[in-house]
Symmetry: C2
Subunit: 156 residues, 2 copies
DNA sequence: GAAGAAATGTTATGCTATATAACAATTGAG
DNA sequence: CTCAATTGTTATATAGCATAACATTTCTTC
């Protein structure tokens, strides 16, 4: 099919001028690219973010991870279970609060995070190539503003 | 909690400087706002986009809807089933191609779409207020570029 | 026109992400 | 001390997305 499909491109009903729709499409594209870049590594975006936060904050509790990444406590359990049985994360009983666990990366976890970070850098570089450094900066600024839509809910 | 949380904000490991992570967070915030704006209407983002496309292209086949919205044929079946049992969409057997269905909005479907579009307008206005008209335009442009990451896969 | 390839809608199935409710153990506040 | 809140956990449900297989129908190619 030659470029500039002349036939009957379905009318998208201006969906492509709406922020929500385009956000979803862009996110799918970016996640797919992220995943494609992670050759060899088995980390999916969610696992990657969890590993990264634990790596930066050794001894963090699960509840803290949840508030940082906006996850539900109940959902993090299985995620940590998986990372633990992959040998990447270790739960350690806290001695100051016997309810909570202190999370640490195992040596394998640190290596995995390191490898993922390098591929992530490639991935981001590809995005920078596409948007330009200023375009990317501007994009991040707008996205940060959009996140404030969610914060409108008071702590209730 | 006063602004500028002074305690110990968990280190996000620069995740908030990465396009993928921020895209996901922004999308969650925007979808939540979309949903909040749809008081009374029962349409979720996916259903809304399907209704909108059918509204603009009466008689469209399911396959065409799928390519337009990047859905899988198998997944659209249940979606149309639901919209049909809500009385919003009607499947009509095509007479020129006995494999395919021609999709139409029922009168109720047109009203629902109309109502959803109005609330969508409010929703977009709120976003415009947050980003500014130029900011929003710039955002849409960058998001469109990002979508090209996905198109890299040739037709195979 | 006949044979093989492709498209269409469908069912079945699985996985991931996300959400809520309930619970026991522990900690904190009054 | 008593009651409320926090933490990790289990169970459960839903939405979104993916693949494989299938029957019917259409298209292609000879």
């Amino acid at each position: 099919m030659p470029p500039g499909q002349s036939i009957a491109a379905t009318d998208l009903a201006n969906l492509d001028r709406q922020v929500g729709y385009m956000l979803r499409q862009a996110q799918l594209a970016v996640f797919a690219d992220f995943f494609a870049k992670q050759r060899g590594a088995v980390l999916r975006p969610g696992q990657f973010s969890i590993l990264a936060v634990i790596g930066r904050n050794p001894g963090l509790s699960q509840a803290k991870v949840c508030t940082a990444l906006r996850l539900k406590r109940a959902n993090l359990v299985a995620a940590i279970d998986a990372l633990e049985s992959l040998g990447l994360v270790r739960r350690e009983a806290s001695m100051t609060d016997r309810r909570s666990n202190r999370l640490h990366l195992t040596p394998a976890g640190q290596r995995a995070l390191q490898a993922a970070l390098e591929m992530q850098t490639e991935h981001e570089a590809r995005i920078t190539l596409l948007l330009g450094i200023n375009g990317k900066r501007a994009l991040l600024r707008q996205l940060a503003k959009l996140c404030e839509l969610g914060k409108t809910r008071s702590s209730s």
